[in-house]
């Protein structure tokens, strides 16, 4: 059963990605209809797996197999080139590399992305755990999943934001307010 569902996910990934590739790579206006159909095939493969082997098992397996199928389409369409030094440019954005404004900024950013980001993430998650409706065990587990997610978002934001005071204010404020609100309500 699992092997069959894995095969279905793989075929769905191959089919859906092939449809999308035709439009996105060749940019043929006449075949724009393939975009929604491609997404539909990818989604249908995942949903079919979920229906076939069980909601969570199938969803996880479907997501993995569709990814493998799509990556096989990418690999199949690879092109090999001969490099011409100095003539190759990328249309992709380049990272910001401004002049160094002191090592202390790096340490402050590490502090913001690390410990302060973590406490702010915990404060928000514990607020959810204490104030959201539903069974306390479910709230607690969802809050547990929210901690790494909020922390990751805080990391992304603080490392990209050049205004340190704004980040400090936001994270400290969130931490204090979040922990206070969570302590007031409790898990009930």
């Amino acid at each position: 059963m699992i092997a069959g569902a894995a095969g279905l996910g793989l075929v769905g990934g191959l089919g859906g990605a092939t449809l999308l590739r035709t439009v996105w790579t060749e940019r043929a206006r006449s075949s724009r209809w393939r975009v929604p159909v491609g997404w539909l095939v990818l989604t249908a493969a995942i949903v079919s797996d979920a229906v076939w082997v069980g909601p969570i098992k199938g969803l996880a397996l479907g997501v993995a197999m569709v990814a493998i199928g799509a990556l096989l389409v990418v690999a199949r369409g690879r092109v090999r080139r001969v490099a011409r030094p100095g003539r190759e440019t990328s249309l992709a954005p380049e990272p910001f590399e401004g002049p160094s404004r002191g090592a202390w900024r790096g340490w402050v950013k590490a502090l913001l992305a690390g410990p302060l980001g973590m406490t702010a993430a915990m404060a928000l998650a514990f607020c959810y755990a204490t104030w959201a409706p539903g069974d306390p065990r479910t709230r607690l587990i969802v809050a547990g999943l929210l901690v790494p997610f909020f922390w990751a978002v805080a990391m992304t934001w603080t490392l990209a934001d050049h205004r340190l005071l704004r980040s400090v204010g936001m994270l400290v404020g969130t931490t204090v307010a979040g922990f206070a609100l969570a302590a007031v309500k409790g898990l009930g």
């Binding site: 059963m1 699992i2 092997a3 894995a6 990605a17 999308l20 590739r21 996105w24 790579t25 082997v53 069980g54 969570i56 996880a60 397996l61 993995a64 197999m65 990814a67 493998i68 799509a70 990556l71 990418v74 690999a75 092109v79 090999r80 080139r81 490099a83 011409r84 190759e88 440019t89 990328s90 249309l91 992709a92 954005p93 990272p95 910001f96 992305a113 690390g114 998650a125 514990f126 204490t130 069974d135 065990r137 479910t138 607690l140 587990i141 969802v142 999943l145 901690v147 790494p148 997610f149 990751a152 978002v153 990391m155 992304t156 603080t158 490392l159 990209a160 969570a182 409790g186 898990l187």
Partner: protein, 491 residues
Amino acid sequence: MTISTSIARWRGWPLSPATVRAVLGGHGILGLAFAAVIYLICLSGTLAVFAPDLEHWEQPRAPSVAAIGAEQLDRAIAAARRTTPSGTTLYVTLPTVAEPGAALVAYGPKLEREWTIDASGALVRKATPFTDFLLALHIALHLPRTWGEFLVGLAGVALLSSLVSGILAHPRIFKDAFHLRLGGSRRLQEADLHNRLGIWALPFHVVIALTGALLGLSTLIVGVLAMLLYRGDTAKVYAMFVEPPPPLNAAASPLPSLARLLAETQRRAPSAEPHQLTIERAGRTDARVTITSTRPRLLVPQDTTIFDAGGRVVKDQHPRDLVAGTKILGGIGQLHFGWYGGLPVRLAYGMLGVALCVLTSSGVTIWLARRRDKGRAVPLWERLWASVAWGQPLALVLAAVTGVASPGAGTVLLVWLVASLLLVAGAAALHWVAGSTIGHRLRIALAVGAVLLATLHVATVSLDPAAGLIDVILLAGGAWLALPRRQRAAT
């Protein structure tokens, strides 16, 4: 490229070009800061997915029964009790169609011992030093448990953040979704590889990073929550999910017959199959036997029947009785490790795990190539990264060689540690050798190591067909790694 052209090209992307560049800058800093740890965790995690296969490869003569009777289980438990102190908790895993083999783990405050159970109920001590080393490396990096798990959790958060920022900083996400241009400039080739792997495997990688981060940070989260709400009493948080122990009563009492308990469990949940037995305080009046059972469509066992020392049912719960939180909690580990659906799932996880390793490595390579392109090459970091990217698989192969050659010596961790340190120190010291040369030589050394490992395993352990498949993979992998790579016209 002018700003106006950039804006035209990024039309429709929610972030401004300046924000995209700032996010990309943060993505690079975070990736570089955690690259080695993330790579090591991903590499060990990819191999840890195959832990059941590796255990069989290390000990192919260990019994692997398709089914086991209650009488044989009684015998196995009695044998385990004779060799462990009173009060030790015994965990018995029963064979399933997807995962044959019965196992018994004895766990106590100062004891952890594992056996496999043969068809007659006799115990065979588990001797899988490399797999044990690998799992401990992935879970806590062989550091003190609390610190190691926190570091792994932090790396999971950093990976999650890198995935988020990687997507935000990719305005051409759809236009370039299928571009894979090899052989041109090193930077563009690696960027194509990095972006394609990062995008198409994104949902899977987010699940792995999120579940891994939670597994690593759970002790800290529970600790902080307990400090906030229960004056630091973490037991109150855990009590929400764990059945409280029965009142103490050390008077002797025989363990009830497992045949009767298993029959009662199946009567209560006919569509579920008993999967694990947990036996606490065996031989005492306050003993408890917990039987959990699986259903084919569920990720984890959700049928639990608990018996007391007299064999009476004290608790019986089924999927309909569980709240969502309890179900999610049970599934986090399974979703992370991919141990829920047999070999097809492990293969899928393995392939996407390799993709995550390549994603991490290519991120560093892009940074190194960009520096070189701009005339600001960092040869030391090029050498060091080569010693991590190719050196860690080599160090793991050397650790596996040690495990196969002398399973009882307990030197697997030492060999890996010494090899890792020597590789990094050597790469730092060899300042006259280019990083690409070090990478090439380590790749060849890895190829030789893989072939050596397979040969040693066949010669010393067994020619068992299932275990032999790993040897074939090692030989084929070694041959592929030794193949000359197509030369790039420019770097």
